[in-house]
């Protein structure tokens, strides 16, 4: 049974890896994407241009992957920051307990009660449009899931009997942290990270779509979709394909993240109800 799941995970991981590689090397594969060919403007999908071309004669396929690159990069960075903050806060809160912990729980409850979308807009409004403010807004809410997970892991282990056993035998605090707590936390955080990248990529695309995040002339998938929307009657391929590319990446990220979680047997019931 375990072998079947492992095989599945490998296949999914491989697909994701290929996708990621395409994106990473999209510069080499596709060029910068803003080469304008005035002679092939707005062409329907064909063998030469599988996704067609846009009104400026640019190949949609190449632009889509290049746009993906920015979204993925930003998503990755955002999640990295969230993970760093979240894990530190969560671990500290759980390990030291007391007022710090209570404060965290309180903060968590407060943040959770807000419609994150709405407040994201508020922050964006405050800080103006642009990549920086978008990242801030995303990070503001993103760290919470990591903190929660880290905290629950640390708490579970901290109270587990074998820690007391270790203390009884004389291990120092630091040893306990590194030998027991850290591996466990890493084990659960990594799959979550993979999953959350998917979420933040979607979030970035969505915000850019609305005009709040990445601004032109940067190539970003959300922007492309929005631009494409204005041609909905005439050149539908301009929004269908970029969105499709985004969907594919998002699906693969989620699927791999999910499989990783399954593999490592982690199912936080809070996660289930959240999703």
């Amino acid at each position: 049974m375990k072998n079947k799941n492992d095989k599945k995970l490998c296949i999914q991981g491989a697909i994701l890896l290929v996708l990621l590689l395409v994106v990473v090397f999209s510069g080499v594969l596709f060029g910068k994407g803003d080469v304008i060919h005035t002679d092939i403007m707005s062409q329907k999908p064909s063998l030469q241009h599988i996704f067609g071309t846009d009104p400026l004669g640019r190949d949609v396929l190449s632009r889509a992957f290049i746009g993906m690159r920015l979204s993925l990069l930003l998503g990755f960075i955002a999640q990295l920051i969230c993970m760093a903050i979240g894990v530190i806060v969560g671990c500290a809160s759980a390990y030291f307990g007391g007022i710090l912990d209570k404060l965290f729980v309180f903060l968590q409850n407060v943040i959770l009660s807000f419609p994150s979308m709405v407040l994201t807009f508020c922050v964006l409004m405050l800080l103006g449009n642009g990549i920086f403010s978008m990242m801030v807004a995303l990070c503001l809410f993103g760290w919470l899931s990591y903190a929660r997970l880290a905290r629950s892991q640390v708490r579970a282990i901290k109270d587990a009997n074998f820690i007391n056993g270790a203390k009884a035998v004389g291990s120092s605090n630091l040893q306990i942290i590194f030998r027991h707590i850290v591996p466990n936390v890493i084990r659960t955080i990594i799959p979550m990270f993979t999953l959350m990248i998917g979420h933040s990529v979607l979030g970035i695309a969505g915000l850019s779509f609305l005009g709040f995040g990445v601004q032109p002339p940067h190539a970003e998938i959300g922007l492309m979709i929005r631009d494409g929307m204005s041609y909905i009657r005439t050149f539908p391929w301009l929004f269908i394909f970029p969105g499709f590319v985004l969907a594919v990446y998002s699906v693969m990220l989620n699927v791999v993240g999910d499989s990783l979680q399954d593999r490592l047997d982690i199912h936080d019931s809070a996660n289930i109800s959240r999703m």
Binding site: S113, S116, M117, M125, G243, V255
Partner: protein, 302 residues
């Protein structure tokens, strides 16, 4: 009960404080383009921002409680009126979407559990996984293109009353059903493995009797929790959807207000929406309290 009430007050109180620095910051920001300086001053006076922090809270709070949310910069009408006129659209969208997602989600989840690991189940789970990952705004545009333009089934513009709500609520409903399918399926399967089901079988209850009389009640709590979280994300998600479909709802208006920096509207709407979320959470907690005796025991033990 007391715990719930205390947390509610805490939420509400803490809610107000971010709003306050926001105002100050806004003030700071608009201090730049001198154009709006007198507006800011007027605003400051109206809200008494030139006083200290605490009196400002009190002021705002008092005004809010009196349902006085100020007036829109753009139209000059009271914010509350703007909200009310658009509320129906957004609310109907939310209700329809939730109903649809419940219908699809729970029934597919049930069927999925019943035919566990057969083709139907596997297909449903794959579609569900894709559903959860696909960007909803893209799906919305695609469906608009497909159904409104190509196939001409649904209306395109957003002002045809009920008819123009069909397509967006379908999109939202399908998006929301993913989580419900998953949780319904998981809960049913978990419950079927519980010891009490053996007791029920031993009593002589048939499969449908067991499901109707016992399992249904046991899964209703997680399902309600999921529905609540769906509704809350709808509040945010509808913003995008309304934008795409051009629906005259709260979300759409909010975006325009943000773009035009119509502060009273923004603050007022955000406040109402956040309050709604708090209330929804509260309702959800009350419902769990009412439905599950084990939660009641936990509260008592505090």
């Amino acid at each position: 009960m007391t715990a719930l009430f205390v947390s509610f007050t805490a939420y509400a109180l803490l809610y107000f404080s971010p709003g306050d620095p926001a105002e100050l910051l806004l003030m700071e920001k608009t201090g730049g383009p001198g154009l709006q300086l007198n507006v800011v001053r007027e605003y400051a006076e109206i809200l008494g921002t030139n006083k200290g922090l605490l009196p400002m809270y009190k002021n705002w709070l008092v005004k809010m409680l009196q349902l006085d949310l100020g007036r829109s910069y753009r139209t000059g009408r009271p914010v509350w009126v703007e909200f009310k006129t658009r509320f129906v659209t957004s609310a109907s969208l939310a209700v329809m979407a939730t109903a649809l997602s419940l219908l699809i989600g729970v029934s597919l989840g049930m069927l999925s559990a019943k035919y566990k690991n057969r083709l139907f189940d596997k297909l449903t789970r794959i579609i569900s996984a894709v559903n959860m990952s696909v960007p909803s705004f893209w799906l919305a545009i695609v469906s608009m293109w497909l159904f409104a333009m190509k196939l001409k089934i649904a209306p395109i513009s957003g002002d045809q009353g009920f008819k123009s709500l069909i397509l967006p609520s379908c999109v939202l409903g399908i998006a929301g059903s993913a989580g419900l399918i998953r949780i319904t399926r998981i809960c049913i399967l978990e419950n079927l493995n519980e010891e009490y089901v053996v007791t029920l079988r031993a009593k002589g209850l048939s499969e449908s009797e067991r499901f109707r009389k016992h399992i249904l009640k046991n899964i209703s709590l997680p399902i309600i929790t999921m529905v609540t979280s769906n509704v809350i994300s709808l509040i945010g998600g509808s913003i995008i959807i309304e934008n795409i479909f051009g629906l005259p709802g709260i979300g759409n208006y909010l975006i325009k207000s943000i773009q035009l920096k119509d502060f009273p509207v923004i603050l007022g709407f955000v406040f109402i929406m956040s309050l709604t979320v708090v209330i929804l959470n509260l309702i959800s907690e009350l419902v769990s309290y009412a439905l599950d005796p084990r939660i009641r025991m936990e509260v008592y033990e505090k």
